[in-house]
């Protein structure tokens, strides 16, 4: 597969996101890639719209459904929700949408901070394979991938995104029950 330029996907996502920003919208990035994207989108939105936008960051390590199998993720990041979530229109930002399990975990964590007015999901790529009734509301692109493959989004020191595909050595071990 010829991989698209993630910068173009981000541009596409930005065009969908911009009209949805209201006065009480907050962007919440999902670690790690989603936080990079959130910060890029936020900066541009604030410049073009001319006002500050609330933002936060979540990891949801404490809400994942694979804790009983895999334990607590060691590289978890502290949650950062510096605003009152009640009544806000939350837009979650993730890099790769896969099973929907991460989104579920993040929503559970979000609701422990309060009751948002609405929650939407923006993902740079939907790779297919959802296992829950959850789908992104905005995507940069739909790019179906085999279960033993995964997208790797990277950001260089200049903040430029790059995309690659990695193949797992044993297809049986990867994939379907994975959070991604």
């Amino acid at each position: 597969m010829t991989l698209p330029d993630p910068e173009q996907l981000l541009e596409h996502l930005y065009q969908q996101l911009k009209p949805r920003i209201q006065e009480n919208t907050a962007l919440v990035g999902i670690y790690t890639g989603g936080v990079w994207l959130m910060e890029r989108l936020l900066k541009r939105l604030q410049t073009e719209l001319g006002h500050d936008i609330l933002f936060g960051k979540l990891d949801a390590a404490m809400y994942r459904d694979d804790y009983a199998q895999r334990g607590l993720k060691t590289s978890a990041h502290p949650a950062y929700i510096p605003f009152d979530i009640n009544g806000k229109h939350i837009i979650l930002i993730d890099d790769i949408f896969y099973t929907g399990r991460t989104t579920r975990a993040v929503m559970n964590e979000l609701f422990d901070y309060g009751r948002p007015a609405s929650v939407q999901l923006a993902a740079l790529i939907n790779r297919g394979g959802a296992q829950l009734p959850i789908r992104p509301d905005m995507v940069g692109a739909d790019l179906p991938l085999q279960a033993h493959q995964s997208f790797d989004l990277a950001m260089n020191t200049l903040g430029r995104l790059s995309l690659s595909i990695s193949e797992s050595a044993s297809p049986a071990k990867s994939g379907a029950d994975d959070h991604a």
């Binding site: 990891d59 390590a61 404490m62 895999r70 334990g71 607590l72 060691t74 990041h77 502290p78 309060g114």
Partner: protein, 318 residues
């Protein structure tokens, strides 16, 4: 050598003592605890990690404070908590430790938090439980109190992140203190270059230098230029014979007063594991002063205990 605290994959299975734990495990616990600090500030002060699990606090020796912090930590992880004060129950009827533990296992307990007046009690229980059960030592005799040691280093790291550049003084009854031992092991493992103990000869173990500390018998010399002052409680209940003339005299010589604290670095922090004996080991002006981090220690203690339980309670399919 097999470490009874680690499983075959080198992951934490029980927390019995900081001695012998590799740096990666200590760092992992402290980093995980960072994530739990914020939970207490949210609208819902709970995460679902230990939902459906049962944590048993088995206290063969009374300690309301330690038991309460473990109870809050377990409840914030959504566990069901059972508190057993064995000193006032079956043991007085002659039941052995293992009988007590086996009864709780038969009730499908998942984790034991054990406090005992004898050193090695938590180790003993850990050796006899099936592999799906974890044991946390909440203080055994004079031996260890690992979560207290961890919360102390967590607090130090919060206020003084450059651990490789610190001078730490531990003051008071080192002889009877399991906390001091756990603290020294944790600080050494995390790379603190200079650890001092300040105490009268009668309240120091004979081989204390072997722990890699500098010994002082004089507060004025020992506190000079330190970054952290860790006070210990005078353990009256553990003291036998005439180790001290009187607690008033102890305060005269080893009590932390504002004048003595002034010898430490101006930004030094003051810690105490509690409960404090005001006017015995610490002056109220210091305990309530702006350099005191004694109450933050309590708050961080919950996050650290949550981290330990969350690490122990999860799966380990690597």
């Amino acid at each position: 050598m097999h470490n009874p605290q680690l499983n075959a994959q080198g992951q934490l299975q029980h927390l019995l003592s900081i001695e012998g734990l590799p740096k990666r495990i200590l760092t992992d616990i402290l980093d995980t605890a960072e994530n739990f600090v914020g939970v207490a500030e949210r609208e819902v002060k709970k995460v679902p990690l230990l939902r459906g699990k049962t944590v048993c606090n088995i206290f063969f020796e009374n300690s309301t404070r330690t038991r309460t912090t473990f109870e809050i930590a377990a409840k914030r992880l959504s566990a069901d908590v059972l508190n057993l004060n064995v000193s006032t129950s079956s043991q007085s009827k002659g039941e052995t430790i293992l009988d007590t533990v086996n009864n709780l296992i038969a009730m499908h307990a998942d984790m034991f938090v054990v406090r005992h007046q004898q050193s090695g009690a938590a180790h003993f229980i850990a050796q006899h439980v099936p592999p799906h059960i974890s044991v946390i030592n909440a203080g055994d005799g004079r031996h260890a109190h690992p979560t207290q040691g961890l919360l102390d280093v967590f607090t130090i790291r919060k206020y003084k992140p450059e651990m490789h550049n610190l001078r730490v003084a531990i003051v008071g009854d080192v002889l009877h203190s399991r906390v001091a031992r756990s603290e020294i092991h944790a600080l050494t493992t995390l790379g603190v270059p200079e650890i001092r103990v300040i105490a009268p000869r009668t309240l120091l173990p004979t081989d204390v230098e072997k722990l890699g500390v500098q010994v002082f018998h004089n507060m004025e010399q020992g506190l000079k230029d330190v970054d952290v002052v860790m006070m210990l409680r005078l353990q009256n209940e553990r003291m036998s014979g005439a180790l001290l003339p009187s607690s008033q005299e102890f305060f005269q010589t080893f009590g932390l007063t504002p004048e003595r604290l002034a010898l430490a670095r101006p930004d030094a922090i003051v810690m105490h594991p509690g409960p404090m004996n005001r006017g015995v080991e610490i002056d109220s002006a210091v305990a309530d002063g702006k350099q005191s981090v004694i109450l933050p220690q309590v708050t961080y203690g919950i996050a650290v205990r949550m981290a330990v339980m969350a690490i122990l309670g999860g799966g380990n399919a690597a």
